[in-house]
């Protein structure tokens, strides 16, 4: 009987141990799932950068992006004769044209900030795939400065990636409307063109669309930056 008691006690101890372990596991599980975001939140809160600085950095990044795209289009146009560029039919609609953006200053200044950010993020998101397409097609570009163009396209991709990350962080600070992104799928397909001229024309068009969209993003961010400072004379 003593033995049994002992056994039972052992068994009880085991079960008790198991139960406690399970409880521990449960506790740790729940605890662990909550721990990480808590820590991250605290880290984010402690090292919070003011939104003005974030917007400043974002607008600088977008400025660089636009400048790059401008030089790229100019490089591409230099090879293509003007007459050819103008006579041949070309697609007139960018794949991001469906996105409703303000057309003049009054409209732009009336758009709320979160919507502006949302527009910027949507545009940027819309160009993720086309830039991949651009970089791949630039490798086979029949252009004398093909290498430089290819490098610049790669830079474009890097800049746009970092800007996108920054805007994602910003969106978390600007309200619920900022987080919405309109999907603008690229419908141009992977077919650049059969001959050199058409290839160049297509690429030129694509880059011009990107140039405009990057300008839009830049403008929106600069409006946001000016609004965030609260001091009109500082803009």
């Amino acid at each position: 009987m003593g033995r049994r008691k002992l056994q039972r006690r052992d068994k009880d101890a085991k079960t008790n141990g198991q139960d406690s372990a399970e409880e521990m596991a449960r506790h740790t599980g729940t605890f662990g799932s909550k721990l990480l975001p808590t820590v991250l939140y605290m880290v984010a809160a402690c090292s919070a950068i003011p939104i003005t600085d974030l917007l400043d950095r974002a607008s600088q990044r977008s400025d660089q992006l636009h400048s790059l795209s401008t030089t790229l289009t100019q490089d591409l146009d230099s090879h293509l004769p003007l007459t050819v560029r103008l006579t041949l039919p070309r697609p007139s609609v960018c794949h991001t044209a469906s996105l409703q953006t303000p057309n003049d200053k009054e409209q732009a200044l009336q758009v709320p900030e979160s919507d502006l950010l949302s527009l910027a993020r949507s545009l940027l998101q819309a160009w993720e795939d086309p830039l991949v397409f651009l970089s791949t097609s630039a490798n086979f570009l029949p252009h004398p400065a093909q290498n430089a163009i290819s490098n610049k396209i790669q830079e474009l991709r890097d800049h746009s990636k970092s800007l996108g990350d920054g805007l994602n962080i910003l969106s978390g600070k600007m309200g619920p409307g900022a987080r919405t992104i309109s999907m603008l799928p690229y419908t141009g397909g992977n077919d650049v063109g059969q001959d050199t001229i058409s290839q160049l024309i297509n690429l030129n068009f694509l880059l011009s669309c990107f140039r405009r969209d990057s300008h839009k993003i830049d403008s929106f961010l600069k409006i946001l930056r000016c609004r965030a400072t609260g001091l009109p004379q500082m803009c």
Binding site: N103, L109, D218, Q233, C235
Partner: protein, 671 residues
């Protein structure tokens, strides 16, 4: 209305006339054109009017005449007409060119074109545009606002991020010309107006003037909402200069120009540019007068510092090379002690015993035991002066006092051990006694230095107490002539006791005794003899007293017994042989300087003087009477040197009757 066949002759005429003249005027061309227009059925007012004008006067024969007149007129007028007109045929207008489209604030924009040739006709230009993704063609809404050959798009007609396809058409009566289309996006053609309200002020910063430039963005550009972001640039130059100095100011609206080369009038201009756009024109020049100042760059300071540092390094290097010489010059070496046997290193170590032990000469002070005997005075010269001598004494007292003082203040100077020193070797024990008499030494110690003095003083017998009542022993040189002249009176005063031994004093001077009556008796005597003498001081007195006369008598007696040739200067030395039981000092003569320790042989009497200046002495065998006055049979020839010396001394001493004996001369007595 139009009769085509009738028109044709006119046309033919005109063409004929033109062919004749060779050139066609514009008017003719117009007429032709009008006719052609009539032909072609183009209906324009101008042509119709021309047509009607043409046709009115031509009717019938009258018409023919009129026609001919007109022809003539025309022919006449042709040169004039041709002179007036240019000389080109009408043509459609040339192709206009869109020069630029600009938007100052991203809200409106203006396009300018350059018209081509108008083809001789008034040409009208029109601008048509087509928006992107729209086929509707619109004409320029405003041709005037922006001036000639321009098209202004106001806010309502301006859309951003939209491509405008703009074409300018130049039309004239003959045709039209289309310009090349231009794709314009407003956001890419922004060129703002120049900045406004550029103010330049001269300010001072720590004495240096600088220019502060401030401006405002162009009025139209909306920077306050962030619609346009402008960056600025300014340039500055002196009035008389040609080249500008440009500075990028970024987005700020104020700038400090610090590096002003000199004073004068400065001109400043500012321009601006949107983030992705074109530079504006330079603003109007703003001027400022900067006062003249001496400008010292940092570079000047740096140059000076480098120069001085370089010089300093060179000087330091030179000093380092010559440091030994400099050390010698600035800090001359301190002369160290140059004492023989003195060791500086020992001094540094600080052990005084070692230092002074090194200084100590091993032989100094000489141990008394070794030289003790030498220092003992063996002989005492007793001189009994006469009255005259006494007087002389007294007269000499001050001199002796001086001597005494000299002696008292004398130090044991090692350098002055010669015989001719005037200093007395003072016996410290006998200092209380008024006088001290140096005790001589044997002739062998004549040249002895004063280092023997201590021994000498030690050997000096204080046998004669102070309480010697009477009598003085004055050790005078025995050559004194007054010797025989002393009387009893002075004798009484003098020391009565006359030693048996006489000794010549070598290194000392003689002090006259005091005339105080206090008698003393400084005696340098043998070690043995004085003791008994001392012990018998009372008998001394008696002895002295008694022997005064004897001595004096002896002296007197002796005087004539001396060498005849030297009768007045005879002096003899006596030696104390012993003191007999009757308290009689038995003296025995001794020849000065030629002392020989031969008790048996005593030469005290001078028999005669040879021709060779040799003193022949007699030996005196008798000892009982103690006085060497006895005749002696034996004569011994003394060494000539001694005698000679004595002679010499006597010669020298001859004039010194009244003077005391100079120890120097005394020294010469001994060989």
């Amino acid at each position: 209305m139009l009769r085509l066949p009738r028109a044709s002759p006119l046309v033919r005429l005109v063409s004929l006339s033109s062919r004749l003249t060779g050139c066609a005027s514009r008017r003719e061309r117009a007429l032709l054109g009008a006719a052609a227009g009539v032909h072609h059925g183009r209906g324009t007012e101008g042509r119709e009017t021309g047509k009607t004008l043409l046709w009115l006067p031509l009717s019938g024969a009258k018409m023919r005449n009129v026609f001919e007149v007109m022809l003539l007129l025309l022919l006449l007028l042709l040169p004039l007409v041709t002179a007036h007109a240019g000389g080109q045929p009408n043509s459609p207008p040339g192709k206009p060119v869109l020069t630029s489209c600009r938007s100052p604030e991203k809200e409106t924009f203006t396009c300018w074109w350059k018209p081509g040739s108008d083809g001789g006709l008034s040409t009208k230009h029109s601008l048509f545009y087509r928006k992107e993704s729209s086929d509707a063609v619109h004409e320029c809404p405003d041709y005037r606002t922006a001036g000639e050959n321009s098209c202004f798009f106001n806010k309502n007609n301006t859309a951003i991020w939209v491509n405008y396809n703009i074409t300018v058409v130049a039309t004239n009566s003959l045709g039209s010309a289309y310009s090349d289309p231009v794709e314009v996006d407003v956001v890419y053609i922004v060129q703002p107006n120049p900045p406004e309200n550029v103010t330049v002020s001269v300010m001072e910063d720590k004495g240096w003037p600088f220019l502060r430039v401030s401006w405002e963005p162009p009025r139209k550009a909306d920077t306050r909402s962030g619609w346009i972001t402008l960056v600025y640039e300014l340039r500055v130059k002196l009035k008389e200069e040609d080249d500008w100095e440009t500075h990028l100011a970024g987005q700020q609206k104020m700038f400090n120009i610090l590096s002003l080369p000199s004073g004068g009038e400065y001109q400043v201009e500012v321009r601006c540019r949107p983030d992705h756009g074109f530079w504006s024109e330079w603003s109007s020049t703003s001027k400022a007068n900067v006062p003249h100042h001496f400008r010292r760059d940092n570079s000047t300071w740096i140059l000076m510092t480098v120069f001085f540092a370089f010089t300093f390094l060179i000087v330091a290097w030179l000093l380092h090379l010559n440091r030994h010489n400099l050390k010698r010059c600035i800090l001359p070496p301190v002369p160290g002690p140059k004492i023989k046997g003195f060791d500086k290193k020992l001094l540094k170590s600080g052990k005084s015993n070692e230092i002074f032990s090194a200084l100590v000469v091993p032989d100094y002070p000489s141990t008394p035991s070794s030289n003790y005997e030498d220092l003992l005075v063996d002989y005492l010269e007793v001189y009994v002066p006469t009255e005259r001598e006494l007087q002389l004494e007294e007269s000499k007292d001050p001199h002796n006092d001086r001597l005494k003082s000299d002696s008292s203040t004398s130090d044991s100077d090692s350098g002055r051990g010669s015989c001719d020193s005037h200093t007395l070797l003072v016996d410290k024990e006998a200092k209380e006694e008024a006088r001290q008499v140096e005790c001589g030494q044997t002739r062998t110690e004549v040249q002895r230095s004063l280092k023997d003095w201590d021994a000498l003083t030690y050997a000096q017998i204080d046998m004669v107490g102070r309480d010697v009542p009477s009598g003085r022993v004055k050790t005078w040189p025995s050559l004194y002539s007054p010797l025989p002249r002393h009387s009893s009176g002075p004798l009484d005063q003098q020391s009565s006791l006359q030693m048996a031994k006489q000794h010549s004093l070598s290194t000392s001077s003689f002090l006259a005794q005091e005339a105080s009556g206090e008698s003393y008796w400084d005696v340098c005597s043998h070690g043995e003899l004085p003791r008994p003498l001392r012990a018998k001081t009372p008998p001394h007195r008696g002895l002295r007293a008694r022997s005064d006369a004897d001595v004096s008598g002896a002296g007197l007696k002796r005087a004539p017994a001396g060498p005849r040739s030297l009768a007045p200067h005879t002096s003899e030395y006596v030696e104390v042989q012993r003191v007999n039981n009757k308290d009689v000092v038995l003296l025995q003569p001794v020849v000065t300087g030629c002392y020989q320790a031969l008790p048996g042989e005593v030469y005290s009497k001078v028999k005669r003087v040879d021709s060779d200046n040799i003193l022949l002495l007699q030996r005196e065998a008798r000892e009982e009477d103690g006085y060497p006055g006895a005749e002696q049979e034996n004569t011994t020839q003394k060494p000539s040197a001694c005698v000679y010396a004595a002679v010499l001394v006597q010669d020298q001493m001859a004039p010194m009757v009244n003077a005391y004996v100079d120890t120097a001369t005394m020294c010469t007595l001994t060989c």
